[in-house]
C-alpha cells in the first residue's frame, strides 16, 4: 500500500488526547435524543421525531468512528497509549483511550468513578451499536410509519442505544452494571411496546423477571470481587505486585483513586494470582480475614465467575435462563433485530471478553461456560427445526449462535467469540430486518407455511436474506459466518483446559452437530419463505417490496455480512513467527493479559495454530450436509407427498420440537408453581391474617374497646375532676415531702 495512505489511516483526525474528554458525548447524544423524543415527541410530529432520533444515532456513530480511529492512532510511529493507573509509570496501555469524569459515588474507602474506556474491543462494539443501530433506526422510520406510538418507540430505541454504549464503554463493573440494567429496562419497554395486547405485555414481564435473576447473580459476583480485591491488597507482597508490573504504592493509589472494581485493576490482580509468581498470594492461598476468611482466592474467583455466568446467561439467553428471548419477539421487528440479535444479548459475551484475564484463572468456570453454551446452542437449534413463526426461528437461532459464542469464550478463543459477535450482529440483524420486511409486505404474516414464492415479488429482501442465510449457515464458505464460526470451533478443538481435557472434544463434537443443525433450520426458513409457490393460505394475494428506508439497511448489512470474512484470514504477522488472523491481531492488545495469565497459571493451553484447508473443507461438508438435508426435505420429500400423512418419525420429532422440549412447562412446574404457591400462602397467612387482621384491624379494635371503657370516667362533673386533680397534687406533695425528709 502507498505509504502516505497508511499514514493517513494511522493518524486520527482528532488526536486521542484531544478527543478523549469527549467520550461522554457518545452516550449523551442518544440520551438527549431519547429525552427530546420522549418528552416533546407528541408535539414535534412524526418527521421531526425521525430526524431527531436518527441524527442522534448518526452523531454517535460519527463520534464512535473518531473514537475508534483514535484508538488505532499511531501518528509518526508513536502508538496511542496511556499510563495504567494501577501499574508502574512505564507500564502503559496501548491502543486505548480513556477519560475519567471523577467520582460517581463513594462510601468509606469504596468508590466508583464515572470512567469511560475505549479500546479495540469496545471500539468494535461502539461501531456495531451505533452503525447497526443507525441502520435499524432508518429502517424503523418506514416500518413504524402506521404506528401512533412512534415517538415512544424512538425514545425507547435511543434510550437503549445510550444504555448499551454505557455498558461497553464503562471502565468498571458498577458502571457496566448501570448500562446492563439500562438495556434490560429498554428491552422490557420495547418488548411490551404494544402493551394493550396482554400476551405481549406478559412477554415483556417474563424478559424482565428472568433478567432480574441474572442481575442478582451479577451483583453478588461484583461484591465477591470487591472483597477479593480487598483481601488481595492486604495479603499480597512485593513479588506479587512485581509480577503484575505494579507496586503496592501504585496499586493502592489506583484503588483509592479509581475504586476496586475497574477492569484494569482486576487485570493486575489476575496477573499476580498465578502460582509461578512466587509471591505470598496465589490461587491456592486462603483468604485470612474479612467475610471470605478461609476460602482460597481461586475458589472465590471460580464462584464469582460462575455467578457472572448466571448473570450473562440471563442477559445473553443461555441455559437455564434463555426462555425469555423467543417470547421477546412480541416486540416490533426492528427491536428484535437491534436488541435481541445484534447488541444487547451479546452483552454476556462482551463481559467475559472484558474479564478474560480473570476467566482464564478458573478452568472450572471456563468449562462450565463452554458446556452451557454448547447445550444451549444445540437445544435451541433443535427447537428451531419445527418452529413455523419466522421470527421464532430467528430467535432460537440467536440463542443458538450466542451459545456458540459462549463455547468460544469458555474455551479461551476470545477473539473468535468477539468476531462471531460482530459477524452475527450483521447477518442476524439483516435476517431479522428481512423477516420484518417480509411481514411488512405480507400483511404481518409470520407463519412461513403461509408464505412462499417471495423471491419474485421481494427481490431485494430475497437477495439479502439469501446472503445472510449463506453467511450464518456456512453453506457458501466465503462468508463471514463460516469463518467466524470455524475460528471458534478450531480454537475449541485445539485449546485445552488443564484437568478438563475431555471438554474440548465434547464441545467440538457438539459444535459439529450445531453447524449441521443451523444449516438445516436456516435453509428450511429460506426455502419455505422465498422459494416454491405462494401458499394458498397467504393473507395477501401479492406481496409488495418495502420502501428504500427498509431495503437500504438490508443491502448494507448483507454487504457487511459478506465482506467481514477477511478479518478471519491469517494476513498479519504474529509475534514469534507465523501469521495470525487479522481480528486476533487486532484484539491482541486487549487480550494479551489473558494470554499472559493463562501461560503463567497453566490453567489453559491456548493454541495459536490457524485452520488448514482440510479443516475448512470438513467444516464446509458438515454445513453442506445440513443444508442438503433441508433441501431434500422441503424441496423434494414433502412437496412430493402432498395429501399423504407425514411419517410417524417426523411427527414425533416435530411434536417435541414444536413444544420446545417442554422447557417452559418444566419451569412452570418446578419454579413458577411453587413460587405462586408460596406467594399464595404468604398472602393468606402473613398478609391477610397477620398484617391485615391482627396488626391493622386488631389495633383499631383494641383502641376502640379501651376507649369505650375509659369514657365511663367522664361524668361531666367539673368538681369531681377538680377533686381528682387536688388529690393528685396532694399525692405529689406528700411524695416530695417524703423524699425531702428521708
Amino acid at each position: 500500500m502507498d505509504g502516505s495512505l497508511v499514514e493517513f489511516f494511522r493518524t486520527a483526525p482528532i488526536p486521542p488526547e484531544v478527543f478523549s474528554p469527549s467520550l461522554g458525548l457518545i452516550i449523551l447524544l442518544p440520551l438527549l435524543g431519547a429525552f427530546v423524543c420522549g418528552v416533546f415527541g407528541k408535539w414535534l410530529g412524526r418527521a421531526n421525531v425521525h430526524l431527531v432520533a436518527c441524527s442522534a444515532i448518526a452523531g454517535a456513530f460519527v463520534l464512535s468512528l473518531l473514537a475508534f480511529w483514535a484508538t488505532s492512532d499511531a501518528a509518526g510511529g508513536r502508538v496511542v497509549s496511556m499510563v495504567n493507573p494501577f501499574g508502574l509509570e512505564r507500564d502503559t496501555i496501548r491502543y486505548a483511550i480513556a477519560h475519567d469524569y471523577g467520582t460517581w459515588f463513594a462510601a468509606g474507602d469504596f468508590r466508583v468513578n464515572f470512567g469511560l474506556l475505549v479500546d479495540h474491543l469496545s471500539g468494535i462494539l461502539l461501531l456495531i451499536i451505533t452503525g447497526v443501530g443507525f441502520l435499524i433506526h432508518l429502517y424503523s422510520t418506514s416500518y413504524m410509519e402506521h404506528d401512533d406510538g412512534y415517538w415512544r418507540f424512538f425514545a425507547y430505541l435511543n434510550l437503549f442505544v445510550a444504555a448499551m454504549l454505557t455498558l461497553v464503554m464503562a471502565d468498571n463493573l458498577v458502571l457496566l452494571f448501570v448500562g446492563w440494567e439500562g438495556v434490560g429496562m429498554a428491552s422490557y419497554l420495547l418488548i411490551g411496546f404494544w402493551y394493550t395486547d396482554s400476551a405481549k405485555a406478559w412477554a415483556g414481564r417474563k424478559a424482565f423477571v428472568t433478567n432480574r435473576i441474572g442481575d442478582f447473580a451479577f451483583l453478588i459476583a461484583t461484591f465477591l470481587l470487591i472483597l477479593t480485591v480487598g483481601a488481595f491488597n492486604r495479603q499480597a507482597d512485593a513479588r506479587d505486585y512485581n509480577a503484575a508490573g505494579s507496586s503496592r504504592a501504585r496499586y493502592e493509589q489506583g484503588i483509592s483513586q479509581r475504586g476496586p472494581v475497574t477492569f484494569k485493576g482486576l487485570e493486575k490482580m489476575a496477573l499476580a494470582l498465578p502460582e509461578g509468581t512466587g509471591g505470598a498470594v496465589s490461587l491456592a492461598t486462603p483468604i485470612e480475614s474479612g467475610p471470605l476468611a478461609g476460602y482460597t482466592f481461586g475458589g472465590v474467583m471460580t464462584a464469582a465467575l460462575l455467578l457472572f455466568l448466571l448473570g450473562a446467561a440471563g442477559k445473553s439467553a443461555q441455559l437455564p435462563l434463555y426462555v425469555w428471548l423467543p417470547d421477546a419477539m412480541a416486540g416490533p421487528t426492528p427491536v428484535s433485530a437491534l436488541i435481541h440479535a445484534a447488541t444487547m444479548v451479546t452483552a454476556g459475551v462482551y463481559l467475559f471478553c472484558r474479564m478474560s484475564s480473570l476467566l482464564v484463572l478458573s478452568p472450572t468456570a471456563m468449562a462450565t461456560i463452554a458446556i452451557v453454551g454448547a447445550l444451549t446452542s444445540l437445544l435451541a437449534a433443535l427447537i428451531a427445526f419445527a418452529q413455523d413463526d419466522i421470527k421464532k426461528v430467528l430467535a432460537y437461532s440467536t440463542v443458538s449462535q450466542l451459545g456458540i459464542m459462549f463455547m468460544g469464550v469458555g474455551m479461551g478463543v476470545f477473539w473468535a467469540a468477539a468476531m462471531h459477535l460482530m459477524t452475527h450482529a450483521f447477518f442476524k440483524a439483516c435476517l431479522f430486518l428481512g423477516a420484518g420486511s417480509v411481514m411488512h409486505g405480507n400483511g404481518d404474516e409470520t407463519d412461513i407455511k403461509k408464505l412462499g414464492g417471495l423471491w419474485k415479488e421481494m427481490k431485494w429482501t430475497h437477495a439479502t436474506f439469501l446472503i445472510s442465510t449463506l453467511a450464518i449457515t456456512g453453506i457458501f464458505p466465503f462468508m463471514s459466518g463460516f469463518f467466524s464460526k470455524d475460528a471458534i470451533f478450531h480454537g475449541v478443538h485445539h485449546n485445552h483446559l488443564h484437568g478438563l481435557e475431555w471438554v474440548s472434544t465434547f464441545v467440538y463434537v457438539m459444535g459439529l452437530l450445531i453447524t449441521a443443525s443451523t444449516a438445516f433450520y436456516m435453509s428450511r426458513v429460506y426455502l419455505l419463505t422465498f422459494t416454491g409457490k405462494r401458499s394458498k393460505e397467504a393473507k395477501l394475494a401479492h406481496a409488495h417490496e418495502s420502501a428504500w428506508h427498509m431495503t437500504l439497511p438490508l443491502v448494507i448489512l448483507a454487504f457487511l455480512a459478506f465482506v467481514t470474512f477477511v478479518y478471519a484470514l491469517p494476513l498479519m504477522p504474529r509475534t514469534g513467527g507465523g501469521m495470525q488472523p487479522v481480528f486476533e491481531n487486532f484484539l491482541s492488545p486487549v487480550l494479551r493479559p489473558a494470554e499472559a495469565v493463562a501461560r503463567a497459571a497453566e490453567t489453559v493451553h491456548l493454541d495459536t495454530s490457524t485452520p488448514a484447508v482440510g479443516d475448512y473443507f470438513f467444516a464446509w461438508l458438515v454445513a453442506l450436509s445440513g443444508g442438503a438435508a433441508a433441501a431434500f426435505a422441503y424441496l423434494k420429500f414433502f412437496p412430493s407427498r402432498v395429501g399423504q400423512p407425514v411419517p410417524a418419525f417426523a411427527r414425533a420429532v416435530r411434536r417435541t420440537a414444536v413444544n420446545k422440549f417442554y422447557v417452559d412447562e418444566l419451569y412452570e412446574f418446578i419454579i413458577i408453581r411453587p413460587v405462586k404457591f408460596t406467594a399464595f400462602i404468604l398472602f393468606r397467612v402473613v398478609d391477610a391474617l397477620v398484617i391485615d387482621t391482627v396488626l391493622v384491624r386488631g389495633t383499631a379494635y383494641v383502641t376502640e374497646k379501651v376507649g369505650l371503657g375509659l369514657r365511663r370516667l367522664q361524668t361531666g362533673d367539673a368538681q369531681a375532676y377538680a377533686a381528682i386533680m387536688a388529690l393528685a397534687i396532694l399525692g405529689g406533695a406528700v411524695y416530695a415531702l417524703l423524699q425531702v425528709l428521708s
Binding site: 369514657r711 367522664q714 361524668t715 361531666g716 362533673d717 367539673a718 368538681q719 377538680a722 387536688a726
Partner: protein
C-alpha cells in the same frame, strides 16, 4: 420582723380554704371567688419568699398571676352570665352536659 413561717402558714390556710370552696360549693360565682382566693394565697407565698431573699423575682411572678387572674375573671364571668342566660341557673351540679 415577722418570721416567714407565719406568712406561709397563712397562705396555706387561705389556699386550703379556697380549694375546699372550689370542691364543695355549688354556686359558680362562689367557686370563682374561691379560685381567686387560691391565686392570692399563692401570691402571698411568692411575696413572702421575695421578701426573704430580698430580690424582686417573686414580685414579677405575683404581677403575672394578677394579670392572669384578671383575664380569667373576665372570661369566667362572661361564661357564667352566658350559662345563666341559657339555663337560668348557675349551679355547677346542673351543668353536666360535657359527659360521655
Amino acid at each position: 420582723m415577722v418570721p416567714i413561717t407565719y406568712y406561709l402558714l397563712l397562705a396555706a390556710a387561705l389556699f386550703c380554704m379556697g380549694m375546699f370552696g372550689v370542691l364543695v360549693r355549688t354556686n359558680a360565682l362562689v367557686v370563682f371567688m374561691c379560685v381567686e382566693l387560691m391565686l392570692n394565697a399563692v401570691n402571698l407565698t411568692f411575696l413572702a419568699f421575695a421578701r426573704m431573699h430580698g430580690n424582686s423575682v417573686g414580685h414579677v411572678s405575683a404581677f403575672f398571676v394578677i394579670a392572669v387572674a384578671a383575664a380569667e375573671a373576665a372570661i369566667g364571668l362572661a361564661i357564667v352570665i352566658a350559662v345563666f342566660r341559657s339555663r337560668g341557673s348557675v349551679n355547677v351540679d346542673d351543668i353536666r352536659t360535657m359527659k360521655h
